[in-house]
Symmetry: C2
Subunit: 669 residues, 2 copies
């Protein structure tokens, strides 16, 4: 990039920063060595010509999107093996450089198909299925979701009926709603699937079990007889992924298709229940922590694009005859950008911190201590929902903050948003997630009422309540967290009290829970926000040794907290803990924080360290040559392939010549 | 639809309604005759085979999207002429049946190109340009926006320099930022454009003027020499529209290219200023009113889809072993659906009402009374912003309320959302709109402080302020509007006071306005919400003669008001006008309103009267056969054209056979 002319506004912004950008990058990635490693690994990908030769993603048709996805998937898997990479961060660095917000049709083979067999298979099954899977002789997906059944696993309808005469399972989709729908890689790629189905043996339903099922011929890739499948069609995004549908018509598989490490079906059909029914909840915490971190990364990429563009874009003279100012100088623009810069740090830090907590608490579990695990499991649900909600809403806001140009794929913002918005519904729909978190909160709140002391983070529920917030113009972090703690406790109390009163008036637990759903969601949201504010603060304390970096991060952490309060001001004012005067003061302080952050804005997003190859944005380019890039983008439009469109000859020319006739319905009028 | 099996849940919902659906449809469309007319006109389109033969929009590539757009545009224009339709509602009915949320590349020819010539041209120019335009010999666009210049018109850079030697204007794009970017139909369709450019004559810049410029050959449709143009590339949506770019390289046009009804350039280059410099602001109010109404229609369509699907979809047993309930029975789902049903009515009614107000106030202007016009102009800006913000956020929420299935184009929701979200940035970016509204509010607030009485709706600023809200469990509409009035007055006051104090401390007006931008936006938002609540209520009073219909609409109006308060609760609590107890009561009342509305939900969305052909949604079908439709949709995927994808042969097969090699960068490691 060194030889390219840098837009003078961006150059000026970079000089005005109060801190060393590289030092902040080291905080973001957890140290100098990690930054070096990230750049080293990503450069391997950037320098690889075979991965640079595809048509740009915004001009790929569906077939090409898929084809590029396949090729990049395989390349990545091979590269990771060749480099003998095991560390998750390293994998993310490579993935980030290669398929940022694109799809990865072989991902589920690695992340779900093989691990499920490894965990739930007998040694013989592992040998039978895993060895060819590792060699890609078989490529698998994980087929759980059905078109009529998502979150509620026990409701799945796919049947696996054991036939002792032939020692086979008969897999069947008895209804239209039993059709598998959505599994990744199922539509075109996979020849095997782990199929989750109701097990029926000796006339009894034994619940959901996993079956390894061949779905396509290993010879010619055609669907097996008795199996109907395909891609589910075009979507808002994820069009490089062949999400699929799958219907079984009394399809027979051998007995050892059922993964039998725990539960078993013997040759005669006798069902042997698993000895240890414990479920692997750990994996869910882990996946949700990853989602939280990836929301942070997506916010950071979108904030980079919108902030750089806002520094380059000039609009509307503030003073008659004066120059048009940079739009980043408008207070209303700062309100759109800066809270999202803060959120980008908050969610990246929280994702990292959750991983560390997961490892710490997992070690506790080994020692038989489950207490903190439950709190972490509940939190992971709440944080997954909150981070994806904020990313969904915030990234769309950043897109609109770029005006009309945000709407074209040239901005790179629609790509990010369409890729992350499914995180609001996959891996647990967000409302269901908040409710899961809230049920735990209401439960432990009852324990606190009985005087029980809660462990770790949850212990804020044991604190004595202050009557009034002591927040003042200094907006100290402890006063800000106090506000969140107070609001969270109050809202858990509101939900718990309503629940109790509904139970007392004769409702079943299930009905009572439904009838305080809205309040439970709100309580879980506040609890999750509190955790994020605290984590942001603790990461600054732990990682930001450079005082200038610590200062700018503290402003962002304050903004994250203050903005969160102002967004839900009623929750803080309602019982008078925060006064109206304090609320007005916080609104003023937010504006003052905007002014604090303003000179550092571009350097802050630079510190996220995303290369232009990753951002793929005309607006977010490091060099700020936005308009030249928009021109090049336009010329490359698929509609510009010919100088004159085919529609001219078929339609416009006859229209202009007065020769165009339609079979119009005049006769009928 | 009569012969099709109706999903039993939907059938049950329709029976449970407390009101006559058809009677409500008549309220929505403003009377029985309008409903009849709408159905009559739409049926003409639905029955027309030539318009039913296109591939479904979700499977169209860019070229086909554009081609279908062209054909439907022309068909519509011809049909309207054949039927001799003049009434705007009639045009909307036809358009709604034909191109609901699709694009219309010839639209700007009718809506901007021809009207601009008609209004700003001399009789000779009208004859020269309009006659061939009416016959489609020339097809035009309106080229104002430049890649570097949007909202601020005076900042446009395209130059039109008069050359008296040849009596021509030299049109030029002096910089990259001067490139025209975004004009509709410019990319592929139009051979003419009204170009907005800086006029330079006799060495002086005379500001922005309009020029009628030929951009493509009438012979072969190729760009004229000196003109470079094309499509601007793929976007998040609007891909049936050929938004274009346009660069002039000292391109010469005759003197009569400049529209000279008002300002003139004489043969020798003498500039004659227009006698009457009044701008046609009326058109802006009119267009914004149309946007408000269309946001209501889009909310209604999305709410229809999500509500019907929520009645059909069943998920998670509430009681162990019991049936899975309809998701519409979850309180948290009701919170997503019902406020948007209310919003759909609110914005349709407000759009209609604004049109009527526009006509009434326009008549006043004829009499020289501009007072109310300014208030309407400010309101139109605020309402355009508020309605598009609510539609943007709410329709996306409805999409997510459909879980994973909302994300596929099968749901029809991404199509609606991607089509309406540009309304947040076009015809005046929303923040700019709020600020425009707020500047008026701050101005008249100063007049009120001086004792001046304001006309019409604005007179609420003159009312004496109550100390406390009298809202109670009855949630009377007058108490609800009182709350909005109070909050609006307070927030205008906060913005005005801050502005004054910034001016006193030495800031220029421009800087002071910028430094209270956030508060100004919030004040304008509250003012606009108040107007909508009041309009909703007044339309019920005026139109809903059937008491059962009036009752259910009143519940929705209350919900619209209560939900709006709870969304911005801090604004109502901050000065103690609303108490914490009242706030808690309102939260409870909202839940009670959900329960009230629940049995009527499906009938309410049925009353919007959208045919399946218009919704184009597997989830929102009238018959509720959702899963069968999703199956058909999947089979039709472009990836399923061949039984086995080309990628299998080129990539997967070699991978499976261990023969796939990449030029991987191992050597470099």
């Amino acid at each position: 990039m060194a030889s390219v002319k840098i837009n003078p506004d961006l150059a000026k912004e970079r000089k005005s920063a109060s801190f060393d950008c590289e030092a902040l990058t080291e905080v973001v990635y957890g140290g100098k060595e990690n930054v070096r490693r990230k750049r080293y690994l990503q450069n391997i990908v950037f320098q690889d010509k075979s991965m640079q030769s595809f048509p740009p993603w915004w001009n790929r048709d569906r077939e090409t999107l898929y084809d590029v996805g396949i090729k990049k998937s395989i390349y990545m898997i091979k590269l990771i093996k060749q480099l003998n990479i095991k560390d998750l961060s390293d994998i993310f660095y490579i993935r980030g450089a290669l398929v940022s917000h694109e799809n990865f049709p072989l991902g589920i083979h690695e992340s779900m198909f093989m691990p499920t067999i490894e965990k739930q298979g007998t040694p013989e099954q592992i040998e039978k299925y895993l060895t060819p899977a590792r060699q890609f002789k078989i490529i698998g997906t994980y087929a759980q979701t059905e078109v009529g059944h998502g979150t509620f696993i026990r409701g799945l309808e796919t049947m696996a009926t054991y036939d002792p005469a032939t020692e086979e399972f008969i897999i069947n989709s008895p209804t239209i709603t039993a059709m598998k729908y959505w599994p990744a890689g199922l539509g075109r790629t996979c020849n095997y699937a782990v199929v989750m189905a109701q097990l029926n043996t000796q006339g009894k339903n034994m619940g959901i079990h996993a079956f390894v099922v061949q779905i396509r011929s290993l010879h010619d890739h055609k669907p097996m007889p008795g199996v109907q499948l395909g891609d589910i069609g075009n979507k808002l995004g994820f069009n490089g992924m062949d999400n699929g549908y799958l219907i079984f018509n009394n399809y027979r598989v051998p007995r050892d298709a059922m993964l039998m490490r725990y539960a078993k079906v013997e040759k005669d059909g006798t069902y042997v229940a698993p000895k240890n029914a414990k479920l692997a909840y750990g994996a869910m915490v882990y996946i949700r922590a990853m989602i939280v971190g990836s929301m942070g990364i997506s916010c950071a990429m979108a904030a980079t694009i919108a902030t750089r563009y806002s520094a380059v874009r000039r609009q509307t003279e503030i003073r008659p005859g004066g120059p048009e100012p940079q739009v980043i100088d408008y207070q209303t623009q700062q309100e759109k950008l800066f809270p999202m810069i803060a959120a980008a740090f908050a969610w990246q830090f929280t994702g990292n911190f959750m991983m560390a907590e997961y490892n710490r608490v997992s070690a506790d579990i080994e020692k038989g201590n489950m207490e903190e695990y439950q709190s972490l499991h509940a939190l992971a649900a709440g944080l997954k929902a909150l981070s994806s909600d904020i990313a969904n809403e915030g990234i769309d806001k950043l897109r609109r903050a770029c005006g009309g140009h945000g709407y074209t794929h040239a901005s790179g913002l629609p790509k990010i948003w369409t890729h992350i918005t499914p995180a609001c519904t996959y891996e647990g729909e967000n409302t269901v997630m908040y409710l899961q978190c809230a049920r735990y909160l209401v439960k432990v709140y009852a324990q606190v009422s009985k005087g029980q002391q809660l462990p770790g983070f949850m212990s804020y529920l044991n604190k004595p309540q202050k009557p009034k917030s002591s927040i003042n113009e200094a907006i100290k972090m402890e006063d800000l967290t106090d506000l969140y703690e107070h609001a969270s406790v109050r809202m858990i109390q509101v939900a718990a009290t309503r629940l109790l009163s509904l139970l007392k008036s004769g409702n079943s637990m299930e009905d009572a829970r439904n009838l305080c759903g809205v309040q439970m969601v709100e309580a879980a949201r506040m609890h999750s926000y509190l955790y994020t504010v605290r984590t942001f603060q603790s990461v600054i304390q732990a990682r930001a040794s450079d005082p200038k970096v610590a200062k700018v991060l503290t402003s962002l952490c304050q903004l994250f907290a203050v903005n969160g309060i102002l967004q839900r001001l009623g929750d803080f004012l309602q019982d008078g803990f925060l006064s109206g005067q304090q609320a007005a003061m916080l609104a003023d302080r937010q504006l003052a924080l905007f002014a604090d952050i303003r000179p550092n804005a571009v350097a802050l997003v630079d510190s996220f360290d995303y290369r232009d190859e990753v951002l793929e944005s005309c607006l977010g380019r490091y060099d700020g040559n936005v308009y030249e890039a928009l021109y090049e983008y336009a010329k490359d439009s698929p509609l510009n392939k010919q100088e004159v469109s085919p529609s001219y000859y078929t339609t416009l020319k006859p229209l202009m010549e007065g020769k165009l006739t339609f079979d119009t319905p005049t006769a009928r009028l």
